[in-house]
Amino acid sequence: MADSTFDNRPGEEEEDEEEEIDDSSYKTIKDAVLFAIDVSATMLERPPKSEDKKADRDSPTSAALKCAYQLMQQRIISNPKDMMGILLFGTEKTDLGDGDTTFQNCYLLSDLDVPSAQDVKRLRDLFENEDEAAQLLKPADEPATIATVLFCANQIFTTKAPNFSSRRLFLVTDNDYPVKVKQDKDTAVTRARDLYDLGCTIDLFPISRSDHTFDRSKFYDDLVYPSSPSDPDTPIAYASTTKNVKSGDGITLLKQLLSSINSKAAPRRALFSLPFELGPDLRIGVKGFILIKRQEHVKSCYVWVGGEKIQIATGATTHMADDTARVVEKFELRKAYKFGGDTITFSTEEFQQIRQCFGDPIIRIVGFKPLSMLPIWANVNKATFIYPSESDFIGSTRVFSALQQKLLKSKKMAIVWFIPRRNAAPSIAALIPGEERYDENGDQTMPPGLWLVPLPFADDIRQCPDQGENLKASEGLVDIMRKVVEQLQLPKGVYDPSKYPNPDLQWFYRILQAMALEEEVPDKPDDKTVPKYKQIDKRTGHILEEFSGAFDEEWRQQSKTKSKPISTGRKRTAPAASAAADDDDEDDVKPKKRAKKVKAEPASQANGDDGMTDQEMADLNDQGKISSLKVDEIKKWLKARGEAVTGKKPELIFKIQAYLDDKGFK
């Protein structure tokens, strides 16, 4: 396993014909993060005890460790091939693994590697077991020099992640001048430059103490470089790096640190870099970034259970000619289209010509339209974020900015012709403006820029199946329903993705982690997407009652005027399940098993010999399940009540409903 993660920097190969923007190549940028956490007396100082439940309890060091723990778990989900390591410095103990003591007062808590379940456990144990923590987190009398730490990181990156295109050192410290004499600073500066030349980035997470504000300009501005090798042309956003985390403020140190580390969780890398043509001969440079993408869990793989230790089996594919079973090398493969029972083929040059006849990769404005001409139904895929780049055209940023501001102001969009890269299919997209947003702490939550929303072609639009007749609700009915809509607005009236973790993904990894550590498997998922039933009932129950009455009335009228009978629909459920947890404070109820039971009801009753009673049928009607009955059963039931049994199923159902109405069931 470990080996295969090593060769991950293939040369710039000419791509084969690829259908879409290749998201996978975007992901293959491998990232190695080494946390370097300062262990010193001040870093270990806990905040004063407080009655406030929400107050800080963590020392900066332990907050940093918790961040690392959380990031590790998160990266197993989001970047399962990426590496992570944790280095403590300034500790009394010295150990770089296997008793290596080259770097004094540096302790490698977790080696730089793809995290294992054991790494996760070890880290968790550290803040669950205070004795162990106290032993390890003991500051040395003479702390490690920063130059040593940087060179240590250099060695770890060189040996453990030699070919990773993104290698980052996350430095967490509260010491803004960690040297005594200028000479030591010079050594540190040189070591930092070595790291830069190696292709590693230093990301500083400074911590201010209540009595001391961290000043980056004293020391670290000489060590930290403004651009990163994986994202060389786009300027870094300074906001996240300059933000000092102050302990003792309202918001906990842990939360602040988490937030700034999260914004750096994955290395930023452009999906494409393209000319953006605003008109003939007016081009600027832009880069595209994927900011929204469905995170899937890992696919299942084969494991080898033949040995003592379970191992992942890696597969390799060989091609064989179907006729002779001869092994075929990749360069022998030919592409051909199937046509009329045979194949139609083209030479390599012709294949290129076919795909490239639409011109070079570009984003070109065709014209502008109001945003209202971009209906949601026309969505076909996720949007890509676009941000200017000065690397090819000087002045790109200001022109882009002017366009973004104008589009925001006038609520307009640009319609563009878009070819993301050579050989890719051309598409038409809308460029819509994205406004910069901040949270209450002034941290950016949405970056400013343009979003490229792909548009459907005529070929991509499907027809809505015909629904037969066309009943329309009256204004009165709509007005009642409108109250429901108004009563049940989400907080602040926005859909905020951060409020909804993917329940399937979370559950999957929780189970997997428990199984990997051979711990007990949790039995109940925490699913934030389940509606808040109690709240819904409280806010809308009375409106729905009103609606129910009005609906029945309207239904009676509309179905009377219709000559054609209509099968039932359910609009409210039977009050049978009145075991409502009205006084229950919890929002989560367990509807699943019960739901199944209800589903089983019609079937079991239908199988009964005596047929259903009027009451049972009425219940079924209320649940809208009459149509699930078989025609035979319906006829039997009607016959038993002396009703005529001619006509098709909808008419028969109508007869049942008429019968029930007459009998006073409602």
């Binding site: 920097r9 197993i76 054991q118 060189t158 292709g199 980056r216 501005d221 300074y238 969780a265 970034f289 994927i290 929204i292 793989c301 084969y302 080898w304 191992q311 179907d322 006729d323 022998e332 493969l333 046509f339 029972g341 083929t345 795909r355 639409f358 014209g367 139904w377 949007a383 974020f385 200001r398 900015s401 002017a402 366009l403 501001q405 006038s410 051309p426 072609f457 005529a458 991509d460 499907r462 009943l471 329903m481 108004e486 049940l488 607005q489 859909y495 973790p501 329940p503 997997l512 990997a516 699913d527 389940v530 509606p531 209509i566 039932t568 609009k571 409210r572 399940a577 075991a579 809208g624």
Partner: protein, 738 residues
């Protein structure tokens, strides 16, 4: 399922079809065949077994009625080329050989039509004489100059109606007032004018479905791509609920169904084949696709390709011999997952343990005002949500919900589980009300994990390192630029630039008029190649596919003033290409500086020579190169680097040192390319290859060579660096030879 089809083409092959009229470069027949071939190949490309085609020619030299009528009298000069059958590529090829103008102008189109009707009847009635369900079509292409015997023409028209045969008659240079087509020297072709009248009347008598037109119009229509219709398949049938109907009294439940609203139509994909070896190396007979291609890239010919099968082998690390791999059998493997680098085995019986327990449902979570919803969040194609079929109550209830959302200006957020045990997704529900359509539209929304929280600097202000805000900066547009941009955007508005049939202003490039360029390009070119196996020059894509690749010219000229103002205010300049080469680069200035701008080289006293340190290999190598422009110094740094790389390989236990060696090779290759000294690297990599393959680096190091090859860290060729004397072919060859 598409309906069965029986289509017969009747082609006029008379001598006069071999003429070139009205200055066209093609013969009338070739021109007509552009249309016919397009029709035929379109049907072939569907691969449908139930789409049958037959071809009949008239005014042919021979007479061959394919056994459809017993008597040949009155049917002379008619030839049946193909009975009704599914057409395959060889049928096209065969037909192509046969279709050419004859030496005669004798032969009656109406007789040919009678044969065609007979052909269809034979196929589409069963033995008992019952009419089968078929789409029956006859397509005639003629220049209408032949003699016609109009006896019984009325009976024939009646037969068309009765048999429900759809007749399409296309005339070469027929008058067509709808198309504005009027031949001026028609006097010369008196017969044609008379025939046109007769045929036109005949077509009119054949029923509503019959069509009469001029070929030019039909050929123009060919470029308009045909859209494939797809039968809607419901992805969810169940209920839309508000509230928990198990535990609460008042809840809302509506029976609904979900169908696709948008779905990306993909172009056909090419499959992998390999040239058959058992046929020998010679090129195929008649179907050579491109005569100009020779040698390696020789295009395989149809029928000479063999399908490719894939075989997978599985490997694990050998526990007995760490650092080596061993193959394992599929039966020793079980299902599992990776948690980080830990393998987790999940037995067959536990397979469901990682799945979240769900049951099929669509549940409302809450509502958001339309204007507060970010349009860039939706991440999928969309679906219609419509009431259950023939369910009046559901219709009424959903209608009230759709209108309530619409009137409140809100969207709904809902949780969707399409099938039991499927993962839940969050969807946005949007009302869509159109004159003949009332539905909800759903589209998937991102979860927390789907958002990447990258930060980008603001665009309307500049923040300094110290956090100060600057409003005036070269990256921030000034007022002039803002105004110019605003004017330009407004001038280039296309929301009313289009014209409808009545000439009224309408939206330019609505969705329904923009066709997928690549999809139709590939379909077009496959069909073209099917009938043009010998042509070497590919035709350009039809104009309709590139129409929307640039702003309309008329609009651009209207907005010229605003555009010039924007260009001036924007003042965008192309960045000159980077200076490369050891003399040209400006040392020091190019070196990236830390945030403070500190000159690290100066701090170290600008040393002229830097020693390569094995323990700090990559940085010291880069620094050594940066410090000098002396060729000798560069060579010596490269030599030291080379010996370090070799020792990394030779001291590697198993593959442990290969990664570092590979990274060092990459850096060396990149730096020397930058310095335009490719020869230094090329000499090294040639030696290295010889050493690695020759086993001179302590043991079998071939795996290292595979890695160099896989990473493409071979010779620097001319394409990569102009100073190189290695050709691209040579560089490619370098990877192959062992």
């Amino acid at each position: 399922m598409a309906q069965k089809e029986a289509t017969v083409y009747i082609l006029d092959l008379g001598r006069s079809m071999g003429e070139k009229d009205y200055g066209r470069s093609k013969t009338n027949l070739d021109w007509a065949m552009d249309y016919v071939w397009d029709k035929i190949t379109t049907t072939v490309s569907t691969g449908r077994k139930t789409a049958l085609m037959g071809v009949i020619g008239f005014r042919t030299d021979e007479t061959d009625l394919g056994g459809l009528v017993d008597e040949e009298d009155g049917y002379s000069n008619i030839r049946c080329f193909s009975p009704l059958k599914q057409f395959l590529l060889p049928d096209i090829r065969e037909l192509q050989q046969q279709i050419r103008p004859s030496g005669t102008n004798n032969g009656d189109v109406l007789s040919a039509l009678a044969i065609a009707v007979q052909m269809i009847k034979t196929q589409t009635y069963n033995a008992k004489g019952m009419k089968l369900k078929y789409d029956r079509k006859i397509i005639i292409v003629t220049n209408g100059t032949g003699h016609m015997d109009t006896d019984g023409i009325d009976d024939m028209a009646a037969a068309f109606k009765e048999d429900e045969i759809e007749l399409t008659l296309l005339g070469v240079d027929f008058d067509d007032p709808d198309y504005g087509y009027k031949e001026e020297d028609k006097d010369l072709k008196k017969t044609q004018t008379e025939n046109e009248e007769i045929l036109k009347q005949f077509v009119e008598d054949c029923g509503d479905k019959a069509m009469y037109g001029t070929l030019a119009a039909a050929i123009d229509q060919l470029d308009i791509p045909r859209i494939k219709k797809t039968t809607p398949v419901a992805s969810y049938k169940g209920s839309l609920t508000l509230g928990d109907n198990e535990n609460f009294d008042m809840t809302l439940t509506i029976d609904i169904e979900r169908y696709p609203c948008t779905a990306i139509a993909k172009p056909p994909t090419a499959s992998s084949f390999v040239v058959r070896t058992d046929l020998g190396a010679g090129p195929g007979p008649s179907t050579q696709s491109s005569a100009t291609i020779t040698g390696e890239d020789h295009a395989p010919t149809d029928g000479n390709l063999s399908a490719v099968r894939n075989q997978r082998v599985y490997q694990v690390e050998n526990p007995a011999d760490p650092g080596t791999k061993m193959n394992v059998e599929l039966e020793d493997l079980e299902r599992g997952f990776e948690y980080g680098r830990t393998a987790v085995h999940i037995s067959e019986s536990d397979a469901n343990i990682v799945k979240i327990e769900t049951s099929a449902s669509l549940e409302l979570i809450g509502f958001v005002p339309e204007e507060k919803f970010d349009r860039y969040l939706p991440m999928s194609k969309t679906n219609f949500i419509v009431p259950q079929k023939a369910n009046g109550q559901a219709q009424l209830a959903l209608s009230s919900f759709i209108h309530a959302l619409y009137e409140a200006g809100c969207f709904a957020i809902a949780r969707l589980v399409t099938k039991d045990l499927k993962p839940p997704i969050l969807v946005l529900l949007v009302p869509r009300i159109e004159p003949d359509l009332e539905a909800l539209i759903d589209v998937e929304l991102p979860f927390e994990e789907d958002m990447r929280r990258y930060k980008f600097p603001p665009l309307d202000k500049k923040l300094t390192i110290s956090g100060k805000e600057i409003k005036q900066h070269r990256d921030i547009p000034n007022e002039e630029l803002m105004q110019a941009m605003s004017d330009y955007v407004d001038a280039m508005d296309i929301s009313e630039f289009g014209r409808d049939e009545g000439g009224e202003k309408t939206e330019y490039m609505p969705f329904s008029e923009v066709y997928s360029p690549l999809l139709h390009r590939i379909n077009h070119i496959i069909r073209w190649r099917a009938t043009h196996p010998f042509d070497t020059e590919l035709p350009p894509p039809p104009q309709i596919l590139t129409k929307y690749s640039a702003p309309p010219g008329e609009l651009l000229s209207q907005a010229e003033t605003q555009f010039q103002a924007l260009k001036k205010a924007g003042d965008v300049k192309k960045v000159p290409p980077k200076e490369k080469g050891r003399f040209k680069r400006s040392r020091g200035a190019d070196r990236e500086k830390p945030l403070s701008g500190l000159d690290v080289d100066a701090l170290l006293g600008n040393p002229k020579r830097i020693k390569i340190d094995a323990g700090n290999l990559v940085p010291t190598f880069k620094q050594a190169l940066a410090a000098t422009d002396d060729l000798e110094a560069i060579q010596s740094a490269a030599d030291e680097m080379a010996s370090n790389i070799k020792s990394l390989i030779s001291s590697s236990i198993g593959e442990s040192g290969y990664g570092r060696a590979l990274e060092a090779i990459r850096v060396m290759r990149e730096e020397l390319t930058e310095l335009e000294e490719p020869e230094i690297f090329n000499k090294f990599i040639r030696e290295l290859k010889a050493d690695v393959i020759g086993g001179k680096l302590k043991g079998d190091r071939r795996e290292m060579w595979w890695r160099i090859r896989g990473s493409k860290y071979g010779l620097i060729d001319r394409k990569r660096c102009f100073a190189s004397d290695v050709t691209e072919d040579e560089a490619a060859e370098f990877y192959k030879a062992t």
